[in-house]
Amino acid sequence: MSEQLTTRVPGTPGHEVITNTQLSLDVHKLVVRAPLVAAGRQPGQFVIVRLGDGAERIPLTIADSNADDGSIVLVIQAVGKSTNDLVALSPGDRIHDIAGPLGRPSDLVAEGTVVCVAGGVGAAVMFPIAQGLADLGADIITVLGARTADSVVYADEFTALGKLIVCTDDGTAGRKGFVTDALADVLDERSANVVYAAGPVAMMSAVAETTQPHDVRTIVSLNPIMVDGTGMCGGCRVTVDGKMRFSCVDGPEFDAHGVDFDELADRLGTYRHLERQATTHTCRSAG
């Protein structure tokens, strides 16, 4: 936390987009001015972003930040209307609302070897955790998965922090196959102290299954549907060790071996039929 309360930049309301860089076909990296968030954020925390009037509130991990210039980094995969609207922003455009930093900071266990497993855009969720661990002197091995070579993001950043193993579904970069295969090999080779995972629910679930027989502590960063991000709506509830927990205030990180991944995956599908409607509606109004 900063020494004194950071105040907003006077002038036009909202948060200025400083840069928008396309990292892959559908993943963009936005650097946005948000001094209040940049001042105190810690690895593992996220923000709730609302582009403007009528827009959704969506949770996004703070991939990085710079307290000196008051900027934060958001990595966004364009999957629905709201994320498509965000990746379409140009430098100088404004995001009306950014609330945060939200969620509990990562529990950084920096002793011995730490394996960081990330899939797809989960790389941006994992990066601040890995960075935090590296700052504490951990020996980091990152297993980074993607569909194809073109969709690998954050490879250079992870390389700077330790050993990197890239896996692609089609073998166009690194190993061909799933991150769990590479993870199993790593765990067979050496004893890891802790495994972190972020990415699609199926991947996190598979990571939990892979580490279970090795008896390695495994921490996952969950991504359920959220509205307010402050514990008020209960929409982000997940079952961990048989108990109901709220991802926004109790998480987003939980012990992977206790998470009910089936429920999480299922609940993420609540609005799938309506998401299509939102996207076609946009296409119609745009056309």
């Binding site: 936390m1 020494e3 004194q4 309360l5 105040t7 907003r8 006077p10 002038g11 309301p13 909202g14 209040l36 968030v37 105190g40 925390q45 609302r50 403007g52 009037d53 009528g54 827009a55 959704e56 509130r57 209307k81 709201s82 009306h96 609302d97 950014i98 609330a99 945060g100 930093p101 939200l102 509205v227 307010d228 402050t230 514990g231 008020m232 709506c233 209960g234 929409g235 509830r237 079952t239 109901m244 205030v249 009910d260 429920e263 299922d266 609940r267 599908g269 609540t270 609005y271 309506l274 998401e275 409607q277 939102a278 509606h281 946009t282």
Partner: protein, 503 residues
């Protein structure tokens, strides 16, 4: 307007005036307000019913002690500006309380007319005056001597806004921190438009901003700043964060798709305007058969919202009986008019779903009412063999809220109860000097007006505290820069453009 004062007899002959309301068929097609408000003529008749009692019991019945006979007499005289001045002097949000207060258990419950007949419709008259005032240029810029003291208010709900109003009027510089993107708290995210149009709430917020109140949205105390940081920067802090964490039933099936808390359901519809989806981006499930579990105002807001979203059936499931329903009588009446179904003395056991984990029904059991429990209400006892399933596709759980640990977990020195509520003394002060608290975060889930009552009362205590203490924090070099910068800023919310009256 009358030449001669009416006799008491003549006054008592006038029947209580009915609130004009929109046709049920019109209501169900929109979120427009149901109660249409008194006309000036109806208001005059109703005002003439007031006996202007020497000992006005109604004032004692009001948590913010509005001078009720005072403003009602001005309505009768036709001086609505005077009525508004009297009303606003005691109540920061009369357009809100005139709509959502449970008058039947407060001011109107102790009106002397109520002993033999119907009480004066105080709530409707309050709303009438407040709505009239909305259309006027109000002299909100009360001349005041700046005290040089700065107060942080956490939470822009009814309690926080009321405290901000009181403190500003006493010359203190107030900054309100709001976690959401829109001020108003439960008035904005919770209470639906058909009961309290959001425009009215934002109008009141704009009035406070014009008065000089600074509102900072998207700031989550406990995350963006800690309480300790605020205490170091301000001369006093008022914690009015409400009891925001939803309570679940703890029965099987609450993780199924189609199960909402009332907080989520109402937030999606009210704050995020998902009724307009896909024109607004936030979706909500439009259930065909909706079951709402609970019997309070929030449950009724949810069930009536479901009807407006097109539900074929919308059912209240409540484990006690009709007389125990905690909701306002008017909400229950409106719900009945609108076709809400009631399953009373029915207790939910489990929410059932299909193989795709969508809700298919609520397994329930009938209850009979036994001995009173610790709340004083008769305890519902399940009747053996009465189990059955109420088929539905959407379930809204509206069984209350509890303390949100977000702020307290970041303030380890702050004393809390074992249920996470703040402990405050008679003055509303917590164990941390200069940190005050009121509303639901101290008293547990209650009403808008009780939170406002706390806001008003504790603002007075904060004022006393500030007058009795030396200015210390403002002498710190770090604080002065913050003050200057923040005073030069504009509010960030679109719905609440700063009126630029900070100075």
């Amino acid at each position: 307007m009358t030449d001669q004062p009416l006799s008491k007899r003549a006054r008592m002959k006038i029947a209580r005036q009915e609130m004009p309301s929109s046709d049920v068929r019109v209501r169900l097609g929109s979120f427009a307000e149901v109660n249409l408000g008194f006309t000036e003529q109806i208001a005059l008749l109703e005002a003439q019913r007031c006996l202007d009692c020497k000992r006005a019991t109604c004032v004692d019945g009001c948590p913010v002690s509005v001078d009720i006979p005072g403003f009602v007499v001005e309505i009768e005289r036709g001086d609505l500006a005077a009525a508004a001045r009297i009303l606003f002097a005691d109540n920061a949000l009369p357009a809100v309380t005139g709509r959502v207060c449970p008058q039947e258990t407060q001011c109107e419950a102790v009106c002397v007319l109520g002993r033999k007949g119907a009480s004066v419709a105080i709530g409707y008259l309050e709303r009438f005056v407040a709505d009239w005032a909305r259309g006027q240029d109000r002299d909100s810029a009360v001349a005041m001597q700046p005290s040089g003291r700065r107060v942080a208010v956490i939470g822009a709900g009814p309690g926080g806004l009321t405290a901000a109003d009181e403190l500003t009027r006493r010359g203190h510089a107030v900054t309100v921190y709001e976690a959401l993107h829109l001020p108003g708290g439960v008035l904005s995210y919770g209470i639906p438009e058909f009961r309290l149009p959001n425009e009215i709430v934002q109008d009141e917020v704009r009035r406070l901003e014009a008065l000089g109140v600074q509102i900072e949205c998207n700031v989550v105390i406990g995350r963006t700043y800690t309480l300790e940081q605020l205490r170091a920067e301000f001369d006093a802090v008022f914690v009015s964060v409400g009891a925001g964490l939803p309570v679940f039933l703890g029965i099987p099936g609450e993780g199924l798709k189609g199960v909402y808390t009332a907080n989520e359901y109402l937030t999606r519809v009210n704050l995020m305007r998902s009724y307009a989806f896909p024109d607004a981006d936030t979706p909500v499930l439009h259930g065909d058969r909706v079951v709402v579990i609970g019997g309070g105002n929030v449950a009724f807001d949810a069930v009536r919202t479901a009807l407006r979203l097109g539900a074929r059936t919308a059912t209240i499931v409540y484990r006690r009986g009709r007389t125990e329903l905690p909701a306002r009588v008017e909400e229950i009446d409106h719900a009945e008019e609108e076709g809400v179904l009631f399953q009373l003395q029915v207790s939910p056991l489990a929410i059932e779903g299909n193989e795709d984990r969508w809700v298919t029904g609520v397994r329930c059991v009938d209850t009979e009412l036994g001995e009173p429990d610790e709340s004083g209400r008769r305890r519902p006892v399940p009747i053996e063999g009465s189990e059955r399933v109420i088929p539905c596709d959407t379930v809204v759980v509206a069984v209350g809220t509890r303390a949100n640990p977000l702020l307290t977990s970041s303030a380890p020195n702050l004393e809390i109860t074992d249920r996470g509520y703040l402990i405050a003394d008679d003055r509303g002060m917590t164990n941390i000097p200069g940190v005050f608290a009121g509303g639901d975060i101290v008293r547990g889930s209650a009403t808008v007006i009780l939170a406002m009552g706390d806001g008003k009362r504790i603002a007075g205590m904060i004022d006393e505290y500030l007058c009795a203490t030396e200015v210390t924090v403002n002498s710190k070099p770090s604080a002065s820069t913050v003050a200057t910068e923040s005073e030069s800023q504009q509010s960030l919310t679109d719905a609440v453009p700063s009126v630029g009256a900070q100075q």
